[in-house]
Amino acid sequence: MVSIDIDTGAELVERLEQSKVKVAVALWAYLPEYGDWRMILSSRQFDSLDLRDALGLLHDSLDAAGITPERAPLVMILPMSDPFIRDLRRHFARAKSVEGMRLGGQMFGDRFIEDGYVYRIS
C-alpha cells in the first residue's frame, strides 16, 4: 500500500465527519476474497439510508475533499450489523486509540483480513 492511500483515507474520514457522519469503522483492508485493498466504512448514518443514498453521501464527501473519481479509493460500505464490523468493534471499540493500527492474519466475524490499516473503530 502506498502512502497516498493512507492520506486519501484519512481525508475521506475527516470529510465524512465534517458532514456529520459519525464513522464507527474505517479501515483499509486487504481481504483475500477480493484480492485488493478496499476502504471499509460503517456508520449508523449509512445504515439509516438506502445504499444508493449512502453512496451519494460518500461521493459528496469525496468531491468536497477534492478526491476526484480517479483518486477515489475503492470503498465498501458495510452495515453495522455485519459480523465483520461487529467483531472489530467488539475487539477494539474500547481501545484508547486505534488510529494507525495494523491488522493482519486474523479472522473477524466471517471475513479473514490479510492486512489492514485502521482509522476508526468505535
Binding site: Y34, D36, L51, R52, L55, P69, M76, D110
Partner: protein
C-alpha cells in the same frame, strides 16, 4: 395454479453459483447469468481489440483473465471513457460502485436479499446501469 412448464422448472435452479442463501431473487438462471455480465461483457470488449492474424500479447492475455473490474477496464482501454462517464453520470457512478463491491469469490458468501437486488439493479438499470454503458463500448 397451473403446473409449471419444464422451462420454468429449469430456471428455478438451486442457487449454487451465488451461495446457498442469497435469496429467491437470484435463484433464477436468468439472474445468475446477469450476475456475471459486467465481467464477461468487459472481456468481450478486450476480445474485440484482437484482430485476425494478431499474435496476442501474452501479458494482456494473462491479465484479461482477471476478475477485477478496475483492471479489466484498463486492459480494455476504456479507462478514460469510464472516468468521463463516472464524472458526468452520478447514478452510473453509484451503480458501478455497487457492482465493484462484489467479486468473483464474494458472490459465494451469504448475502442479504436486498443486497442481491441492488446488485441486479445496478447491472441492469436501462439508463444508468453498468451493462448499458459497457454495451456502448462494444
Amino acid at each position: 395454479m397451473p403446473p409449471r412448464s419444464p422451462w420454468q422448472k429449469s430456471r428455478q435452479v438451486e442457487c449454487f453459483a451465488v451461495g446457498q442463501a442469497v435469496s429467491p431473487v437470484v435463484q433464477d438462471l436468468q439472474h445468475i447469468t446477469s450476475l456475471d455480465m459486467p465481467w464477461s461483457s468487459l472481456k468481450a470488449c478486450i476480445a474485440k481489440t484482437t484482430r485476425r492474424y494478431d499474435f496476442p500479447d501474452k501479458r494482456k492475455v494473462d491479465s484479461s483473465h482477471a476478475h477485477k473490474l478496475r483492471d479489466l477496464i484498463v486492459i480494455a482501454g476504456l479507462d478514460e471513457e469510464h472516468l468521463e462517464h463516472t464524472r458526468s453520470d452520478p447514478d452510473f457512478r453509484k451503480n458501478w460502485e455497487i457492482v465493484q463491491a462484489w467479486s468473483e469469490e464474494s458472490r459465494y458468501r451469504r448475502h442479504r436479499p436486498d443486497a442481491a437486488e441492488k446488485l441486479l439493479g445496478a447491472i441492469g438499470d436501462r439508463r444508468h446501469g453498468v451493462i448499458s454503458w459497457i454495451k456502448l463500448q462494444w
